[in-house]
């Protein structure tokens, strides 16, 4: 029971972090695109938000500033959805603090 409870706590904590990141990323999108933006994990950054290559670059740089990371070009190319982005940011933040 106790171990299950702990697991739930961790999940909940990660869930909070995830929700917080979704909020932050939506806010950064809104700043770059200059309009309110609704996003979910499945949102496709280029297709659904209609970003051109310059928009994507400005967005990536804003994300990098916010989280104090640099996303290498090959990683950028692999990011398609918001979930991909959150995963990359978490991974790079772990790497930085390690």
């Amino acid at each position: 029971m106790q171990s299950n409870h702990r697991l739930a706590l961790v999940e909940n904590k990660d869930g909070d972090l995830h929700a917080q990141m979704l909020d932050d990323i939506a806010e950064i999108f809104a700043q770059v695109l200059d309009r309110p933006v609704q996003i979910t994990d499945q949102t496709d950054i280029v297709e659904d938000l209609g970003m051109d290559s310059l928009g994507v670059m400005n967005f990536v740089m804003a994300i990098e500033d916010f989280y104090d990371i640099s996303i290498p070009l090959d990683r950028t190319a692999q990011i398609q959805t918001v979930a991909d982005l959150i995963h990359a940011v978490q991974d790079l933040r772990t790497r930085t603090s390690a």
Binding site: D52, S53, L54, M57, M61, I69, S70, P72, D74
Partner: protein, 407 residues
């Protein structure tokens, strides 16, 4: 649907240009008369977009050396220097470049594009970090993909952003290589090289400067932006091209790195391509000599650049941030850019059109490149044509914002 159907988006843009009766990437000159004039559709046309900065393509001495070299050594080397050996001229050109830059080592490539592919993919590899200015030339981006280093982009001309990104890498293993350009080919702006050199020293990174558009153009002796900024000692590698100020084709890298020559056996874009033909080597050697002996060429070039830049600004056009031989004018949108470009061409003025995504900040540009060989009259004629087309398209009417862009 063929294998090329994946490029449908590009085809759409290209086809819409052709529907407007323009095909900027397939301009066919009937003949080229001089560094500054060609015949186009039977009309004498001023060439204001050919990067022929010193106008040396028709220099009688360069031409003569080229002819002599072809007569005595043939039309081509028919292979790489690894396989077919070097000609005397390849080595003499490398010695001349090293001497010109006051460097220990020089290496010649078959194009400037290949010089960047070769040098970038060889200097850094897996586990290293390649720091690129966001507005870097395609050859720099392509070179970054040929190697296996981690590629990080920093904001255009921002030493602070670069510093921040290098700081984030603190503690990570691997070499860091910073890549910037002397003059950026689209807007004609220069890198803040002194500040970049400071960042390089503070972070222990290496610094490479691509002087493609600044060699023979900037600096007291024409060595480029590093010379002009007084930071040559901080620059570890300079890459450049023969196809602009030196009026031929080819690329090079110079450096004082003691291990430099290992590149000759590990740098694939150097090893696996045919070396430059004798005619090109000979005219390039002669042109380099002209750069050294005729500072007047640089003075003429900068005077013409200043005249065009100031003239366009006085007409009310939005130009780039600095008066350099690359002079760009911002257009309000792609359609106007295409129309403006076509009307100038019809009048007898050839320059370049640059539309997104090839341009920084998604702006459409008309891009001029000035030559030392332009006469004052040609610059003034070009300005008149700009004024005429600008009036025709309502650039100077009440809506001043049309001429404005984000540059």
């Amino acid at each position: 649907m063929t294998i090329l159907a994946k490029h449908a988006a590009s085809k759409l843009i290209y086809d819409s240009l052709k529907e407007h009766g323009v095909d900027p990437v397939n301009v066919r000159f009937d003949s080229v008369l001089s560094p500054t004039e060609g015949m186009l559709n039977g009309r004498r046309t001023i060439l204001l977009g050919t990067n022929n900065y010193l106008g040396l393509t028709f220099d009688p001495d360069c031409i003569e050396q080229s002819i002599l070299a072809t007569r005595s050594q043939g039309t081509g080397t028919t292979g790489s220097r690894i396989a077919n050996g070097s000609y005397d001229g390849h080595l003499r050109l490398e010695e001349a470049l090293a001497d010109f830059y006051g460097c220990e080592h020089a290496m010649v490539f078959s194009t400037g594009y290949q010089a960047n592919l070769g040098v970038l993919s060889t200097l850094v590899g897996r586990g290293d970090h390649l720091m690129l200015d966001a507005d870097s030339h395609a050859s720099i981006y392509d070179g970054s993909r040929l190697g296996h280093a981690e590629v990080i982009r920093f904001r255009h001309n921002s030493p602070d952003d670069l510093y921040k990104r290098l700081r984030r890498l603190e503690g990570a293993p691997g070499d860091r290589l910073i890549v910037v350009e002397g003059i950026y080919s689209m807007l004609g702006d220069t890198a803040p090289l002194k500040e970049f050199a400071d960042v390089k020293r503070q972070t222990g990174a290496y610094l490479l400067v691509d002087e493609a558009h600044s060699m023979g153009v900037l600096g007291a002796t024409g060595r480029g932006l590093a010379e002009a900024c007084g930071v040559e000692k901080d620059v570890d590698f300079i890459v450049g091209t023969f196809s602009k100020s030196l009026g031929s084709v080819g690329g090079f890298c110079v450096s004082n790195n003691p291990d430099f020559d290992i590149m000759r056996v590990v740098c694939r874009p150097y090893m696996f391509t045919a070396s430059l033909p004798p005619a090109v080597i000979a005219s390039t050697l002669c042109a380099l000599e002209k750069v050294r002996k005729e500072p007047r060429l640089r003075a003429d070039l900068m005077r013409n650049a200043r005249r065009l830049y100031d003239g366009l600004a006085a007409l009310g056009f939005q130009t780039g941030p600095e008066a350099n031989p690359v002079v760009a004018v911002a257009m309000p949108n792609t359609e106007t850019a295409v129309l403006f470009w076509k009307l100038l061409l019809d009048k007898g003025l050839y320059l370049n059109i640059a539309i997104p995504p090839a341009t920084p900040t998604n702006v459409s540009l008309l891009r001029s490149s000035v030559s030392a060989a332009h006469t004052t009259q040609q610059i003034d004629t070009a300005l008149e044509m700009f004024a005429d087309v600008g009036r025709e398209l309502g650039f100077f009417a009440a809506d001043r914002r049309r001429a404005g862009g984000v540059v």
